[in-house]
């Protein structure tokens, strides 16, 4: 059971990215209006904008939070060929009363010659490090050696991908069993370009990042890429947003079998491929434990994917961007994503991320029922169902629950929706 809430973001142009902080209590949005807004969630569950400022001189493509161990830090990247790191300054008391906070720019990373398309912080166990990728096909890794001094960042690595990059993802696993890994996706549309997703791995001996794998089967432009959090698995899971949703597993091949000192070789398997969006898939995002994947597409919907205990992936929920119910079986590949009527300045941005909506906060990641049904209790009686039936009727395996609405009249024994803990 899902409930959608819309937030009037007041951005003056398309919103390109939404990012939640580590605890799910703060949110950052960035837009083509060149600004970033930071939102805080109050105790009552409402979102208030606590900061809004101009960050770049071009569209801001992505915004991301650093781990709170480093304080309140944001990074943004833009069409203006720069990426920037921002830190929140504890304001004056009257600012606090007004519920406003200030963010100051700590550094600008100007090495790129083209639009910077993604910026992501590395997992915290690697220190304060971030990676950017640009349209010129170069991934740059920066590090701030002194975490208390955010103005000093040094360029540690430049990785050449040979294709215009659109997205990157760090492998969040902190296991010492494998070295740091970055996945890079490309949306290069030139006809010669082939595989659009690559994996780079850090080599302790050469102290450089080297290409470990290319996902040969991914030949369409990649819009987003995301490693799943690792629950102690020996293999990695990678989600890719391209013309459909794809989930790959990467099993490291034992070192003895490969030439020692080279990058790890992986056995790559595709474990799921879903074209339910019937259109370009723009974003993919994992929940905390890496058990649920959310994808958003040009059909204006967010879909949730989950594997059952037999490791079969299935769709377990569909959310429509503007909160309206999803109709029956046919999914029109809509080229005109629906506009939220009560959010005048927002448009469902081209990349399909549910702009300004409840995108995918970490704590609120849709797990079965109880989280969302607690919402149903807090809010007035929920609108007609937002969740469609499961996409595949496979009776052989245990289904992830998807509540069906029935109008039941018998007093004691019916099983209407949810609303249960």
């Amino acid at each position: 059971m899902f409930v959608a809430r819309s937030i009037a973001a007041d951005h003056k142009d398309l919103i390109h990215d939404v990012s939640f902080d580590f605890h799910g209590r703060r949110m950052a949005t960035c837009s083509s209006d060149q600004s970033v807004k930071v939102w805080d969630k109050s105790e009552s569950g409402d979102w208030h904008c606590t900061a809004s400022w101009k960050t770049h001189s071009g569209s801001v493509w992505r915004v991301t939070w650093a781990h709170p161990e480093f304080g309140q830090v944001l990074a943004s990247c833009s069409f203006d060929r720069t990426a920037a790191v921002w830190e929140e300054i504890v304001g004056e008391s009257n600012d606090k009363l007004r519920g406003q906070s200030h963010w100051v720019k700590r550094t600008t990373l100007v090495d790129s010659r083209t639009s910077v398309t993604d910026v992501k912080f590395a997992p915290k166990h690697m220190g304060l490090m971030l990676a950017t990728c640009s349209a010129d096909g170069i991934v740059r890794v920066y590090e701030a050696p002194d975490v208390m001094n955010l103005s000093q960042w040094s360029l540690q690595h430049e990785i050449s991908c040979k294709l215009s990059c659109s997205c990157i993802s760090w492998n969040p696993s902190s296991s010492r069993a494998h070295p740091p890994m970055i996945a890079v996706g490309s949306d290069d549309s030139s006809p010669n370009a082939m595989a659009k997703a690559q994996i780079f791995e850090y080599n302790e001996n050469t102290r450089k990042y080297a290409k470990a794998e290319t996902l040969m089967t991914v030949t369409d432009p990649v819009h987003d890429i995301a490693f799943a959090p690792n629950l102690g698995r020996s293999f990695h899971i990678l989600a890719i947003a391209t013309k459909d949703v794809r989930i790959f597993t990467l099993k490291p091949v034992r070192k003895e079998l490969t030439s020692s000192g080279g990058p790890t070789k992986f056995e790559i398997h595709i474990v799921a491929q879903f074209d339910n969006h019937n259109s370009q898939v723009w974003r993919v995002s994992w929940n905390i434990t890496g058990t649920v994947l959310a994808s958003s597409g040009d059909d204006g919907c967010v879909r949730l994917w989950k594997a059952n205990y037999m490791d079969n992936w299935k769709c377990t929920g569909i959310l429509k961007g503007n909160g309206s119910p999803v109709s029956g079986s046919s999914q029109q590949g809509s080229s005109n994503p629906p506009l939220g009527s009560n959010v005048p300045n927002l448009q469902n941005s081209l990349n399909g991320s549910s702009a300004g909506r409840y995108f995918f906060p970490p704590l609120d990641s849709p797990r079965a029922g109880s989280r969302w049904s607690s919402y149903a209790q807090l809010l007035p009686p929920p609108p007609p169902p937002l969740v469609e039936h499961s996409c595949d009727a496979d009776t052989a395996n245990l289904q992830y629950p998807h509540p069906r609405r029935r109008s039941l009249s018998r007093p004691l024994n019916p099983l209407p929706e949810n609303e249960g803990v």
């Binding site: 161990e69 629950l231 905390i288 037999m310 245990l398």
Partner: protein, 544 residues
């Protein structure tokens, strides 16, 4: 559940009333399923007792009879009450024949014409053979007796004993297990499983578990009569009658939006080792899967996460790592909550999580300039680097303002002081001030000296320390011994000789240098004087 029922009835607005009612429905449905699973899967009642259990089950869950009974009996003239016969019928349907007999005797008293019939029917009710617990008769004996009794009832019906009273006649038909008669009472039965149990009671009391499904299916079909299709609850119950545990769990998962019920049911079945025996080789995986789902859901709640912790503890494979991932993400809105979370981690030796959470809190404190709080969090995190950083800030504050903040904390560091050199220095330095305040000058003096000679003090702080030594040097009595004074002088020389001359001195630097030079000169003077006095003191006969 009773309470919720009351609240639902008393609800002021229809919306919340509906909400409460639906909650009650869900909970009663869950209880219904749970009890049935207990009877079929866990008790594994054999033929004979099986029916008794099912009867209990129905009686427990179809309970309108109690309110009906209260209504009727509470009225002035029960047997004339409009629902009297309904009540008697329901009692018969539920196999509560003693109570039904009592009702009939009231009717017999009230209307003598039917007294005879009532008595006969009452006798039939009394003599119906039932398997009572502890009864030593075998099933075959019971069957035989029951067969005789059944035939006797049949005879009465054929003879038309009850012909003049349609009520009594229909009761007799019910007791003969006549399907048509039973179906006439659909409203009183209210659901197909009641119909099933009544039917079994009066036609196949020694039903075997494996035959249950057949009867259940036909009961459902007959009851619904093709008018409506089975509801999810019906499917679940049917799966249970089929002894298909897997199907039960699957249907429950689909129908209920919440993992609570299936997680607990699966867990129970797993503990009874039923999941394996029912050929679910992935049984314990499924149990853990469901428990993990349920616990994850709990973590999204601001206080129920504590329950989630316990559930994760019972998941042997992925519980710990799931807990590690979830517990870090709990927003720490208050210090109390933070302490609770930390306690959970510490109890489970999740040292990395403890470190991380404390670091986050320490960082927050530093940013808000709450140095004492930051220090205590870094100590708890055993984060030496951060403790050094915070101690530096403390010292810097002292230099600027001339006093310490958070004295309590620094005074009571105890063994935690050893975490980092800088922290130790901070603690000791504070101790020096304390000693000075208590006028224990000699102790203070030696502490001060040891701070410098033991290299704990950062070089940048030496000047401050030496300046602190000034008042001690200026005291009337000699505090520093000659030896100590030599040491101090050496430190001073170390400090001043290390100063490089670089570039063009600007006016500010010159001014600073001036201040510096003055200080150094004062120190040199004081040290020299002290040296002189101490030599004299040590050299003379009284002093030692």
């Amino acid at each position: 559940m009773e309470e919720m029922h009351q609240v639902a009835i008393a609800a002021k607005d229809p919306a919340s009333g509906r909400q409460f009612s639906s909650q009650v429905s869900i909970l009663s449905a869950m209880e219904l399923i749970w009890n049935l699973c207990e009877i079929l899967f866990i008790e594994v009642a054999p033929a004979g007792p099986l029916l008794l259990h099912l009867l209990d089950w129905v009686r427990l869950h179809v309970c309108e009879v109690d309110s009906l009974s209260a209504d009727v009996l509470g009225s002035e003239n029960p047997s004339k009450h409009e629902s009297f016969w309904n009540l008697v019928t329901v009692l018969v349907l539920q196999g509560r024949l003693d109570e039904a007999r009592q009702m009939l005797s009231r009717e017999a008293d009230a209307s003598p014409t039917s007294a005879g019939m009532c008595r006969i029917l009452g006798d039939l009710m009394r003599t119906m053979p039932v398997l009572s617990p502890g009864n030593t008769q075998t099933l075959t004996e019971l069957e035989l007796k029951w067969q005789h009794w059944h035939e006797e009832c049949e005879r009465h019906l054929q003879d038309g004993t009850f012909a003049s009273s349609p009520h009594l006649e229909s009761l007799c038909k019910i007791m003969l297990g006549d399907e048509a008669a039973l179906l006439e009472q659909k409203k009183l039965l209210s659901n197909w499983y009641h119909f099933l149990v009544t039917r079994l009671l009066y036609s196949h009391p020694t039903v075997k578990p494996m035959d249950l499904y057949f009867y259940a299916q036909s009961s459902l079909d007959l009851f619904l009569g093709g008018e409506s299709s089975p509801e999810p609850l019906d499917n679940i119950l049917m799966a249970a009658f089929e002894f298909d545990i897997h199907q039960v769990i699957k249907e429950c998962s689909i129908a209920l939006s919440n993992w609570w019920f299936v997680a607990h049911l699966t867990d129970l079945l797993d503990h009874c080792k039923l999941l394996q025996s029912h050929n679910l080789y992935f049984g314990s995986n499924m149990r853990e899967f469901l428990l993990l789902e349920y616990a994850s859901g709990l973590f999204a709640h601001h206080s129920l996460w504590q329950l989630g912790v316990d559930y994760f503890d019972y998941c042997p494979e992925l519980g710990r790592v799931s807990l590690e991932l979830h517990i870090e993400r709990i927003p720490l809105s208050t210090e109390q909550k933070a302490l609770k979370v930390l306690r959970v981690c510490e109890q489970r030796q999740m040292t990395e999580q403890v470190r991380s959470i404390c670091k986050i809190l320490a960082m927050k404190a530093v940013r808000n300039n709450r140095l004492g709080s930051a220090l205590s969090w870094s100590i708890r995190a055993k984060d030496a680097a951060f403790a050094t950083l915070v101690s530096d800030r403390f010292l810097r504050d002292y230099c600027e303002r001339g006093c310490f903040s958070d004295l309590d904390l620094i005074d009571n560091l105890g063994p935690a002081m050893m975490l980092s050199d800088r922290l130790t220095f901070l603690g000791k330095y504070r101790e020096f001030h304390r000693l000075y305040g208590e006028k224990r000058f000699v102790d203070a003096a030696s502490l001060l000296l040891s701070l410098m000679t033991s290299q704990i003090a950062p070089r940048s702080f030496w000047m401050t320390l030496l300046t602190d030594a000034l008042p001690l040097l200026e005291q009337k009595q000699v505090i520093f011994s000659a030896e100590q004074t030599y040491e101090l002088m050496r430190c001073l020389e170390d400090l001043t000789s290390g100063k490089p001359v670089c570039g063009e001195p600007d006016p500010q630097r010159l001014q600073d240098d001036d201040v510096e030079t003055t200080k150094v000169e004062m120190l040199r003077l004081a040290l020299a004087r002290n040296l002189a006095r101490s030599i004299i003191k040590e050299g003379s006969l009284e002093g030692s």
